[in-house]
Amino acid sequence: MADWMHPALIVAVTAACTIFTRFFPFLLFGGKRKMPRFVQYLGGVLPAAIIATLVVYCLKDLNFSLYPFGLPQLIAVAVVVALHLWKTNTLISIFGGTAVYMALIHLF
């Protein structure tokens, strides 16, 4: 077996499994038949809940018992929230928050 074969198979399996997780709900509920009511309902309420989960996911590695106690992230998130409530401009909020974060991790 050539030495690129196994790595290539690893990539192929990763791609296949990733594609499977993305297509599965569409294969299950996306056909011609009418979608169950509960799936229709979830389509409406799930995005907001998932985005909230993703914010927690981004902050999952914060360590509050160890210096700097997750402060750079928490302050930067607060900056993003403040900027967005003030200007309602997505790019300003994201650039502002990221700039503050990059400055803070050098300070702490």
Binding site: V13, R22, T53, L59
Partner: protein
Amino acid sequence: MSKQFADTVKFAFKTSIPVLCGYIFLGIAFGIMLQNAGFSVLWAFIISIVVYAGSMQFVLVNLLSANAPLYTVAVMTLMINSRHLFYGLSFIERFKAMGKRKPYLIFALTDETYSLLSAVTFPEKVNAKTAAFLISLFNQCYWITGSVIGAAAGELIPFDMTGIDFSMTALFTVILIEQIKAAKHKLPVLIGLCSAVLCLLVFGADQFILPSLILTVTVLLLCKPYLLTKTAAKHNAKEGDSNG
């Protein structure tokens, strides 16, 4: 090029700019890691085209350098990407009208693209379907570009980029604020937030996302009779101006 198409391209690009910044730099980080593990630019290019899953690609580098057995690769991928099972649920209805674009839209539904597409409102002058497709396509192009740069020339980048990946956290935060503002009912956000924090405490940082999503869906289904009466009015009102 028609005026509408030009407007659509412009709109899709503008919408995708936050992801542009995040993906270029996360892609570079991935490319550097892959190159350090002994894989060339060509590998970075192919992986970012066929796998295209941010966090999974970082795990993939470890699997590649460990020469992991294929069943381990399959189990790890299914575990880490299981959250995608839930993303699709929100788009089954919307993607129905997408025609030929649908397979690619499903293939390219990463965390970031999911967030953009679930939050975006298309202005009247753009073709909503083409715009959704282009947003997805642009995002993957940024990711491929970043990973190729990282694998080819990562070591040559002259400035310290540590922390630039915070732009993804910032993007999700902004979209969450938009979701909270737009939602008539704040309960789904609260349910998602509480179950994520709870599961993070119980299962730890590496394991919490799947239990959290299962808990979220369960609680949302339990709240269905209550939430449905509240949101029904809003959905009916929106029906008139939705075009895609």
